[in-house]
Symmetry: C2
Subunit: 253 residues, 2 copies
């Protein structure tokens, strides 16, 4: 056996099977057995991902609305408030798909309401592009988002109770959250009951409360939406009290 390294006063090093670098005991990760187990787990997870991706692709309806018009369409949706065009383009769809994805559409279409009888569903306060992206999501669980589209789709998801899309938009908007947009995002989340987005934006504001009053949009917010400002201060105070109480209990214990 070769003890040369130890004789030099160096501790023995091991060779990492992954990066092939040598490492000492301070940088020890796993033994070979655990490494092999972890590799197997990773392979299994990747196989599961492939299976699920193939399921998603199978379950996508006509791979979206790229086929225009889709076969056997029996209902159209119209962006009724789209001011940009005189005669808005209808988005063709299937009653069964709309009803399967949204309890609101289902009630509308099953209950012999105007929409069910005429075969036309008017959607207010929405552009043609947002409506088309909304309907496409119901067929594919996919949307290409920017911040504006995510807000539009979140509003539609809220209105038609499409939880999966609402969560998807919330996650996207949370990934775009920063100090600049924190206050409008908070107000938006509040208005559309987007709980996760609300919590994330409120946290960001409270953590920077000293800067809050100095924001350019502060006076405008106080003017237009004083309740939101009050709520932010209340949340800040409530957090302060909680922090003080927990510090207090640590000191006493």
């Amino acid at each position: 056996m070769d003890y040369s390294e130890e004789e030099d006063g160096e501790t023995e090093t091991m060779k990492c099977v992954s990066c092939k670098e040598e490492y000492g005991s301070r940088d020890a990760g796993t033994c070979r057995e655990c490494y092999e187990e972890a590799s197997e787990t990773e392979e299994e997870l990747k196989r599961e991902i492939d299976d699920l991706k193939s399921k998603v692709s199978f379950l996508r309806f006509f791979r979206g609305l790229h086929l225009s018009p889709p076969p056997f369409s029996d209902v159209v949706l119209v962006a009724s408030d789209d001011q940009s065009v005189s005669s808005p383009v209808p988005v063709q769809a299937h009653r069964a798909v709309l009803a399967s994805r949204s309890p609101v559409f289902r009630a509308m279409l099953e209950n012999k309401m105007e929409e069910s009888l005429s075969g036309t569903i008017k959607i207010g306060d929405v552009s043609y592009d947002a409506l088309r992206a909304f309907v496409n999501y119901l067929y594919t669980a996919e949307a290409s988002l920017d911040e504006n589209m995510a807000c539009n789709l979140l509003i539609l998801a809220e209105k038609y109770q499409v939880k999966h899309l609402k969560t998807y938009c919330e996650k996207f908007l949370m990934s775009k959250l920063n100090w600049e947009n924190s206050v409008p995002t908070y107000a938006f989340a509040h208005q559309h009951s987007a709980k996760n987005l609300l919590d994330a934006s409120l946290s960001l504001i409270i953590d920077n409360i000293a800067k809050f009053k100095k924001r350019e949009d502060y006076m405008e917010l106080v003017e237009k939406d004083p309740r939101t400002v009050v709520e932010i201060y209340e949340a800040y105070l409530s957090k302060q009290v909680n922090t003080a109480a927990s510090k207090d209990s640590v000191t006493k214990s």
Copy 2:
């Protein structure tokens, strides 16, 4: 620093961060950095799996046919050759779903054929249970399989060109492959062009060719389906020739 272990002539051991056991250089796995990276990768893969599962669940149509009859159904499927009942129970469905999942249904329903006009699709050589499981798979990408059901669904998947279901059944049948069922499985795979299942069952038979002639079902197979027997022998010989050729080239080189 403590060199006691080294002074004893023992090599230094490291502690695995995963199983907490000590290990020596022979059993070295990864360094800490690679371990941490791998853990992050695992977390990411798990998050991706959760996302995909939620997509699959969203895209499932009415979560299958548990709602009976499903709303807005506009076509029925009937197991026309089901001898077990005098008036077979129809399976209600949607033209749009059938057409989206199967090019055969799509052609049938779009082209004003008898099925499209009557709204009734007759499916031959199938039980009600298999037909229902088939239609349910088109809505959910899920089926509860045993070997019999997997064979029935593979036949339907082949006939109506539902590739995803065919692969699903093939995988299941491959997981159940053994010496006992290898010959009937090979014949079945052959009949229904199930390539992966065919290769797997043929390999198993060829690897045990000495036992092949002694099988109980051998004489029956020769009687009923001599071509299959010939093909098996041909495949065996072709493999032998290949093996010999590659051994030969190794010897010469």
